[in-house]
Every structure is written in structure tokens, then in C-alpha cells.
């Protein structure tokens, strides 16, 4: 679960990491108040998407009046598909140098990983490998102060910056551990008048651990439809094609999209109905697909824990309830296959047993629908 910048900075602040003075801005009045309190400010759109600055999501205001006008323009604007609902006003920084630091989990070593660079800022992803220092952390030991000193030394920092940086590494790792973070990142980590300041921050909390963090604010992400399906407890991503897809298991759902593309079609979504979904959630998920108004619906089920007869019952429930006004292609094999196929056949739906044939048929029908 991603946290907005201002929430991430609140947490950095409680761990003693310096952040610029700032306040949340919901209205033009808030913005004008912010300038009176802080002086000239950067007004930063609070959205959960990267590349915000380049997309016009950060603007500067010298005066209260200017802050008011800018806020009026920014609230409600569309930023890379996200509507800006809130700004964060922050004291404008005179930045001498931009560093980078993050703590994340390395899937390969199965340990925490600290990465740092003297070449921070918006171009960090293009920095050459040699300019990034990486150190895995032994989870049994954690990050003791010496680890921070070694990292500061590897970056070639000196004097005050050396000490501040070494200290910051320890605190950042503590946040990663305490908050079950997937990622805690400061970029840029600014040098202002010889001291380090977290100019921007990201904090992503592990969704699986959120239950043990009542102090972390719950933040919804995604389109209305995505949220609706996620509420049923299923994984869903919108795509831009015209063949709606339901499959069981993430890998199977991905393979189904691949199969549609293989035959020249375009999938409308990714929907993982889960490894063992029962009748009701499956029917709800199918209801969502119907509401998307696709040209064709393709259901691809390999019943393991999922029972084919349950899937058939869900299909019939939707067909006889809200109705399925578009062509439906069903591939059904696995546990209780015979019963599922029989239930569907009784109501005039012929199920396929081969995934390739079903995908090809779905693409053909989508083509015919124009």
C-alpha cells in the first residue's frame, strides 16, 4: 500500500529524519496560509504516481495570492490518470546537491537491500550501475551504525554529511523494519546549506502486513471498477481491449491474455478469480465483466481446488439473473468437469476442453462483432 508523500514524510519525521517545513493543502485558503507560515513554497500534488514533477504536478509560489491561484488550478487536475485531490505545501529548498537512498527487499538474495547514490534526483533510473552503491543487510544483524558509516564512506561523503548520512541509514532501515515497508526511498536526499533534508519520499507498506499496522493510513488505489472487484477479494486490472477475461490463478489469467493476443485479439482486463473461488464470488466477478460491455467474454478454468460445477452454477446464475447479452466462450476442465459441462450443456452452452480452441473462438467472435 503506497503512502502519499506527506504521510511518508510524517513518518520520516517521527524517526528524526529532517524534512522541509510543510502543510497539507486542501483549499486555496490553506495554500495562502502556508505561505504566511513558511514563506515561498513548492505546491506538490499528492498522487501515487512517479514522474510527478515532469508532468506539472509541482509548482512554486512566492506569495499568498500566487499560492491561492496555483492551488485553484491544481486541485482537480488530471495527473497521469490520477485526479489531484490534495496538495502538500513545502518550504522551497535551495538545493546544492541531490543524493539517493532506499531500503527495499531483494528477491534474489531474500534479504533487505540498501541502495545509495550521489547522483540522486529525477534521472536516478538512468544513472550508470557504477554510481550506485548496493549493500544487502543480514536480517539477523540488521543495520548498526557501522553499516551507515561504511555506506557513507563508499559514497565518498565527508565531515557533517558523512555523519548525517550514516545516521540516516540506520533510521531508514528502522522504518523499513518497524513499518513492514516494501520500499522506503528518499529521492532526492537534498544537501541544503551543508545538511541533509528529505526533499521527496516514498513509502510502500507490504499489503500482507497491513493488518498489524493500525497506525498506517489506509489508501485506496485504482479505478472504481478495480476497487469494486477487489472488494470481492479478487485481483483485477483493466486493459484496453474488447474481450473480457476470467481465469483462476494469476499465472493462468496471464496465460489466457497471452492466448488471446496469440490469436490476434485484445483482452479487456486481467481477472484472477482465485485458486478456489466458490459460486458467489465467481458470479459477482462475472457480473462485473458483463457490466464492462465487452464484445465477448472468455472464461478459462482449470479446476483444481476450484470445482467446475461451481463455476457452471455461477455462470448460469448470472445468465438467468442479470443476463449475459454478449457471446460467452467457456473452457472448463478439471475437478467435477463432467458435472459442470453437463450443467452448461443443459442451458445451451458448449464448453471447450482445450484452452487454445476457446481463445481462438473468443477472438473470432470478437472480430465478427465488429
Amino acid at each position: 500500500m503506497k503512502q502519499y508523500e506527506y504521510l511518508a514524510k510524517q513518518i520520516l519525521g517521527t524517526y528524526g529524519i529532517p524534512t522541509p517545513p510543510g502543510r497539507v493543502v486542501d483549499t486555496p485558503d490553506d495554500a495562502s496560509q502556508a505561505v504566511r507560515e513558511i514563506g515561498p513554497v513548492a505546491l506538490k500534488a499528492q498522487v501515487l504516481v512517479g514522474g510527478r514533477g515532469k508532468a506539472g504536478g509541482i509548482r512554486f509560489a512566492q506569495t499568498s495570492e500566487e499560492a491561492r491561484t496555483i492551488t485553484q488550478a491544481m486541485i482537480g487536475m488530471d495527473l497521469k490518470g490520477y485526479v489531484v485531490e490534495r496538495l502538500y505545501a513545502e518550504g522551497k529548498l535551495e538545493i546544492d546537491q541531490e543524493l539517493y537512498i532506499s531500503v527495499t527487499t531483494d528477491r534474489n538474495t531474500k534479504t533487505p537491500l540498501v541502495m545509495a547514490s550521489r547522483a540522486g534526483g529525477v534521472e536516478i533510473e538512468d544513472v550508470e550501475d557504477g554510481a550506485i552503491v548496493r549493500r544487502t543487510v543480514d536480517p539477523r544483524v540488521g543495520v548498526e551504525p557501522y553499516f551507515g558509516r561504511e555506506l557513507a564512506s563508499a559514497l565518498g561523503l565527508e565531515g557533517t554529511l558523512f555523519k548525517e548520512f550514516a545516521d540516516l541509514v540506520v533510521k531508514l532501515y528502522r522504518i523499513y523494519r518497524d513499518k513492514d515497508a516494501e520500499l522506503v526511498e528518499i529521492n532526492p536526499l537534498a544537501v541544503v546549506k551543508g545538511h541533509l533534508v528529505a526533499a521527496d519520499a516514498r513509502l510502500n507498506i507490504d499489503d500482507s502486513a497491513i493488518y498489524r499496522h493500525p497506525e498506517i493510513q489506509r489508501i485506496d488505489e485504482g479505478s472504481l471498477l478495480e476497487k469494486k472487484v477487489q472488494e470481492i477479494g479478487l485481483a483485477y486490472v483493466e486493459l484496453d481491449g474488447d474481450i473480457a477475461v476470467m481465469a483462476n490463478g494469476a499465472g493462468m489469467a496471464m496465460a489466457t491474455l497471452d492466448a488471446i493476443q496469440f490469436f490476434g485479439g485484445r483482452p479487456a482486463n486481467f481477472l484472477d478469480a482465485g485458486g478456489g473461488a466458490s459460486v458467489e464470488p465467481t458470479a459477482q466477478a462475472l457480473g462485473v465483466l458483463v457490466s464492462m460491455d465487452p464484445k465477448v467474454i472468455l472464461i478459462n478454468i482449470f479446476g483444481g481446488i476450484t470445482r467446475c460445477d461451481d463455476v457452471a452454477r455461477a455462470i448460469l446464475q448470472v445468465k438467468e439473473g442479470v443476463g449475459i447479452p454478449v457471446p460467452l466462450v467457456v473452457r472448463l476442465v478439471g475437478t467435477n468437469e463432467a458435472e459442470g459441462v453437463r450443467l452448461l450443456a443443459e442451458r445451451g452452452i458448449d464448453a471447450y476442453s482445450e484452452m487454445a480452441e476457446a481463445a481462438e473462438q473468443a477472438v473470432k467472435l470478437a472480430g465478427e462483432a465488429g
Binding site: R107, K110, E125, L183, V237, G249, A259, M355
Partner: protein, 288 residues
Amino acid sequence: MAILLTKESRVIVQGMTGNQGRFHTAQMQAYGTNLVGGTSPGKGGQRIDGIPVFDTVLSAVQETGADASIVFVPAPFAKDAAFEAMENGIKLLVMIPEHIPVQDAIAIVTRARDLGVVVIGPNTFGLISPGEKTKMGIMPNHIYQAGPIGVVARSGTLSYEIAFSLTNAGLGQTTVVGMGGDPVVGQNFVSVLEEFKRDTKTQAIVMVGEIGGSAEEEAAEHIKQLGKPVVAYLAGRAAPPGKRMGHAGAIIERGRGTLESKEKALRAAGATVVTMPWQVADAVKSLV
């Protein structure tokens, strides 16, 4: 023969009296797994399908000599269950639950390395050795058959699809291993390929991967010296760009993790790469 799991494995079920635990205990028993016991705190002394229930792994191990455990407890209790198993001498640990916090998974796999425990999962369907008539997992029993093909997969249902297509083509399996879908899991392609390399019965290996991470690329470097043919199928050709974890994800992977980079690396290592799941069985047939 098989890898990791054989008829000799003495298996317990942690969380045996819950809905899932009870159902899969019966399924595993029906398949032929040597189930010697189970645990459920406070329910020691009962029997489920004739299998003794213990309060603790300690007493289960003392009474039965168990050396393998499959865990069905809810995710928030999974770390505790894993440590209880490892500290009491379990050497093969299958972690079925999904949504285990990553920090807990890190703690589990770190301890497992120290103790020499093989962890399968978390968030896995488990593993099955058809020739040994034994399984630790939640996969359907009827889709496998004994034979010379090793299968290693990240994803459950997709591996069922492929295992079943192998079975239908007359290509049975030595062992099918599900590594698990979480960011931090006990095994990787390299460690499982190494097991298949040593297994004299395994003649060819099928890898079922997907986009994201760089596990497939790491495996490619290993395939060169494997001495056994590998067929790889990776899902995600048409998938949308994955959710990126800030800049850190992009920096770690550096051009790895895409389907193109994975397939390229696997081909360069001599693996046969197919683009659709239904092409796997034919590709394997041409190699064995």
C-alpha cells in the same frame, strides 16, 4: 525416484483440524502420502482420518519421527508455525498460506538456510512426486502420472494446466515443484534445477515462469551446465507493465524482468522456449 519428497518422507500437517487442513489431509492421504501426524494446539489426543493430532510439533516429532511438515495455519501465525517446525528438526517445510508478510518470509528463509531446511513457498500449491505416490500440497490428485519429466513452476493453476498436458501426452513426472508466488520464497529455479540434475530418473525439465523478478535470468546462467534438456514457458507476454515499486524496482532489475530479456537469456543458454502453454508437451516430446 524423485526430488525432495519421497515415500520415505514422514509428513505432519500443521493446522490439521481447520477446514483447509482437514480437507487436504484427506486428499494427501488418498494420494498415498506417508502422513504420520498433525498439530492443532489444544486438540492433542484426537485423531483425524486415523491420524494422531498433537498439541505441539515437538511432541509430534518425538512420537512419530516426522521430518517434513506442511503448514495450513492463517498467515498471521505462519511465521510462528514455521519456526516451531524448523526448531524441532523438520527438514522439508511446505508453506501453503498466502499473504504472509514479507518480513516474516525473510525471517523464515534466513533461519532455514542456517538449519539446512528446504522451504517450499510461501504461497505455493506445494510439491508432488507421482512415482512415489506422495504429495505435500493442494494440487488435484488425478492430473499427474509417474514418468521422467521434472516440472518447476511459480504459479499453481498454470502448472496444473501444463502437468496435465504432459500427462495426456504420455509424459509422466518425477516431481512437480511449486516455488510459490510471493516476493520472498524458499527456493529459486536454480536450487530446484540442481535437485533435478542430481535425480537420475529425471530426463528433461519443464520450467514454468512469468514476468517480473529476475529468477528466470539467473536460471539461464545455470542451464548451460545442467546436462539435461530444458523446456521453458513464461506467462505474461500480453500482461500490462507490472506495478513498479518506485525507482528501486527499476534500478534492481535494470532491464531484466521483461519477458523478452528472460526468453533471450533462456534461449542463449540452450533451453527450448515456447510461447504458449499448449506447445510445452510437443517440445518435451521432441527432446526425450
